[in-house]
C-alpha cells in the first residue's frame, strides 16, 4: 500500500508520473514529497512508488 495525502492506495510498483497522469494532476503546479523528501520533477518518470511509501502531493492554486 502507498499512502498518498493521507489515503492508502493499492498501487505499489506504480511509476509516479503514471499515477499523476491517472489522477489528473498538472505537473506544472505541484510539488511531490515522498517520505519527507522532495522528488525533483525530472525524476517523476523514474520514481517507483514502493510499498509503505508516504507521499504528499501539493497542488498549488493561483492567488496571492
Amino acid at each position: 500500500m502507498v499512502k498518498i495525502n493521507g489515503t492508502q492506495f493499492d498501487i505499489s510498483s506504480t511509476i509516479l508520473s503514471d499515477y499523476l497522469r491517472q489522477a489528473d494532476y498538472d505537473t506544472k503546479t505541484i510539488a511531490v514529497e515522498i517520505n519527507e523528501e522532495i522528488v525533483p520533477k525530472s525524476l517523476y518518470d523514474k520514481t517507483v512508488l514502493n510499498d509503505g511509501d508516504v507521499v504528499e502531493i501539493v497542488n498549488f492554486v493561483g492567488g496571492g
Binding site: 514529497e33 519527507e36 501539493v58 497542488n59 492554486v61 492567488g63 496571492g64
Partner: protein
C-alpha cells in the same frame, strides 16, 4: 520623534521576552513575491522585530494592488521592493532590508534566498509557486519553507489553515480557492493567509513547531 534603536529593542523585549526577541532579531527571513501575501507577511515580520528581511519582486505597484497590498496611493508606479522597503523602515526603522528587483528563477534563487533561515513563498501564479517550492526543497532541504495555496474568493475565513506537509515545509491556505474560479481576491482573506505564514515563521523561530 523616531525612537532610538535601544528604546525600540527594549519595547520588543517587553512584548516578546528577551530570549524570544533575540531569536527574532538574529533571524533572516526571505519573502519571495511582494503582493497581497508577501507585503503583508513582511509587515507582520517587521513589526515582530525580525532582524533582517530579504524581499524580492520584479513588479511595480499598480492601482489594482491597493485593495489588498501594503502600498500607498502615492507609491503607484514604484518598484514594489523599493516601496515596501520604505514602508517597512517607517514601521521598524532599524530593520535590515535587502531588496531584489528581479524575477526569481531557478538560476538566481541562490543569490536571493541563500542567506535566509526561512523562506516564504508569496507568489500569485500556481506554476511559479510550484517552481519556487521545488527549487528551494531541492537546493535547500534544511531550510524552512512556508508557502501558500488557496486564499481567493469571498469564502469563509475559517477555512484558511496551516499544515505541516513535511519537516521543513508548511502550507497555508484553504488549498482550493483559485483566483480564476472565484470572484477575486479580498484583503482580509489574503491578509489572513499572510498572517498564517508570518505566525508560522515566528513559531519556527520560537521552536514552537
Amino acid at each position: 520623534m523616531i525612537p532610538t534603536k535601544e528604546e525600540l529593542q527594549k519595547a520588543f523585549e517587553e512584548r516578546h521576552g528577551k530570549e524570544l526577541q533575540k531569536l527574532f532579531a538574529d533571524a533572516v527571513v526571505a519573502v519571495c513575491g511582494l503582493g497581497g501575501l508577501g507585503s503583508n507577511i513582511a509587515v507582520s515580520l517587521a513589526r515582530a522585530g525580525i532582524g533582517k528581511l530579504i524581499i524580492a519582486d520584479f513588479d511595480k505597484v499598480d492601482i489594482t494592488n491597493l485593495h489588498r497590498q501594503q502600498y500607498k496611493a502615492n507609491q503607484i508606479g514604484e518598484y514594489k521592493a523599493n516601496a515596501l522597503k520604505q514602508n517597512l523602515q517607517e514601521i521598524s526603522p532599524y530593520i535590515e532590508i535587502e531588496e531584489h528587483i528581479t524575477k526569481i528563477t531557478e538560476e538566481n534563487i541562490s543569490d536571493i534566498v541563500g542567506e535566509a533561515d526561512i523562506i516564504c513563498e508569496a507568489f500569485d501564479k500556481a506554476s511559479e509557486k510550484s517552481v519556487l517550492v521545488n527549487a528551494v526543497s531541492e537546493k535547500y532541504p534544511d531550510k524552512y519553507l512556508v508557502a501558500a495555496s488557496g486564499m481567493a474568493g469571498i469564502g469563509s475565513p475559517n477555512l484558511i489553515t496551516t499544515r505541516r506537509v513535511t519537516k521543513h515545509f508548511y502550507l497555508c491556505g484553504d488549498g482550493v480557492s483559485d483566483v480564476d474560479s472565484t470572484n477575486g481576491l479580498f484583503a482580509p482573506r489574503v491578509m489572513l493567509c499572510a498572517a498564517h505564514q508570518a505566525q508560522t515563521v515566528l513559531r519556527i523561530l520560537a521552536n514552537a513547531e
